[in-house]
């Protein structure tokens, strides 16, 4: 029940300017590996060309879902929206790994009515009732976007990382809070719960303002959806993959995007 409400709320979040889609969406934590009985982590969320450089647009966090180590959903605190970044805090009170994700989905329909270009957003179920009968040039696209990161208090755990089966998701082989420079890490990408084979993955390290070479890494997933990256340096890394499937018969066109952030320690 709660989930469906969250999804409806997330649909409103799709009201992003199209121009923002060309920019990179990132949800970046202030720390990823913590010790103690409890801890606080801050998050910045924005869209910009340089990852983690807030200079373009703040992120709408209507689809924010924080999953605690025990699998329960917990609330963010101190939510705020600045010009170029949205921020919030998470109070970690459980030992283990939290998944912090801004998930948006739904259908975008563009059509013409009486020569006028129109657009409708909503859920696939409500689509038929909301597109006028005299609409022409109807183009409907199903969208799913996941923008996420992971933080761990104490020992790593995987309960919160269980895939939901919607959109592109990252399934750990290497735990995303167990990453060290010079070591290889392997993750599996799944799309709607199935291995996302032969997908291009872009990996970008933050701090591009202080160097000339973007030093991006591109890898492809194998048949099982897995990819491996050897982290060249410590830093905060953005991991991106997307799928565009054209419409086929009754099947709507489908765009799915994954934007994860992981920290690599020295």
């Amino acid at each position: 029940m709660k989930k469906s409400i969250a999804i409806i709320a997330a649909l409103a979040a799709l009201a992003l300017p199209m121009s923002a889609q060309a920019h990179r969406a990132w949800l970046a934590p202030t720390s990823t590996s913590l010790s103690g009985t409890d801890a606080w982590v801050g998050f910045d969320a924005g869209m910009s060309n340089g990852v983690f450089i807030p200079d373009h647009a703040a992120m709408n966090l209507a689809g924010l879902v924080i999953t605690a180590p025990d699998g329960s959903t917990v609330a963010p605190e101190n939510m705020g929206r600045a010009r170029y970044r949205s921020t919030f805090d998470l109070h970690l009170t459980q030992q283990g790994t939290y998944r912090v994700a801004n998930v948006m989905g739904g259908v975008i329909v563009s059509y013409k009515q009486g020569g006028e270009q129109k657009r409708w957003r909503g859920s696939e179920a409500e689509m038929a009732a909301n597109i006028p009968a005299d609409a022409t040039d109807v183009v409907a696209t199903r969208n799913n976007s996941r923008i996420e990161t992971f933080v761990t208090l104490g020992a790593t755990s995987t309960t919160a990382l269980a895939p939901t089966g919607q959109g592109i998701e990252l399934v750990p082989v290497t735990h995303p809070n167990d990453l060290v420079a010079g070591e290889a890490a392997t993750f599996k990408l799944v799309r709607d719960g199935q291995p996302a084979a032969d997908l291009e993955v872009t990996i970008a390290r933050g701090g591009t303002r202080y160097r000339d070479n973007p030093e991006e890494i591109t890898v492809r997933t194998g048949a099982d959806g897995a990819f491996t990256v050897t982290w060249p340096q410590p830093g905060m890394y953005w991991v991106n993959a997307s799928v565009r499937i054209p419409a086929q018969g009754q099947q709507l066109a489908y765009n799915a995007q994954y934007n994860g952030v992981v920290e690599v320690l020295p």
Binding site: S33, S35, A39, D178, L265
Partner: protein, 173 residues
Amino acid sequence: MRPLTLAASAAALGTFAAPAMAADLNVTVTVPQQTGAAYHRPYVALWIERAGAGQAAATPVRTLAVWYEVSNVAEGKDWLKDMRTWWRGLGRGMTLPADGVSSATKAPGRHTVSIPAARLRDLPAGNYSVVVEAARELGGREVVRVPFVWGRANTAQGTGRTELGAVSVAVTR
């Protein structure tokens, strides 16, 4: 250099008979003097790492000692993560404080940790390292590895350059 030579000669001896004989492990760590106004004693972790064979990486085996602000019950553990290598390998899986392992931070000087044979009786003979990691508030972090052999009397030395001084390991009969 010396520890490397030692490790090589130990490897040349081939396999060791397990379990190890009754022996104590003594580790002496020098916490160096630091200049600067804002000095805080470092957090230090000492642990045993099993040497990697062939392509396999070394594996952390057991924490011997953790020096941290034990008296600060509310926040003392918040900076254990700054000993990154230990935290990842062993620390984050532990419950602290732990008897015989955790104690207060140490002042600059030489400090010896003696691990009685009884605590290591289930450690198979073979090639290991003692790893010492120090992390200091407003300071740096350093890791020193000293390879040693468990299964016969031997000594080995290593040294840090910034956050740690001399580290010596002695396995005594």
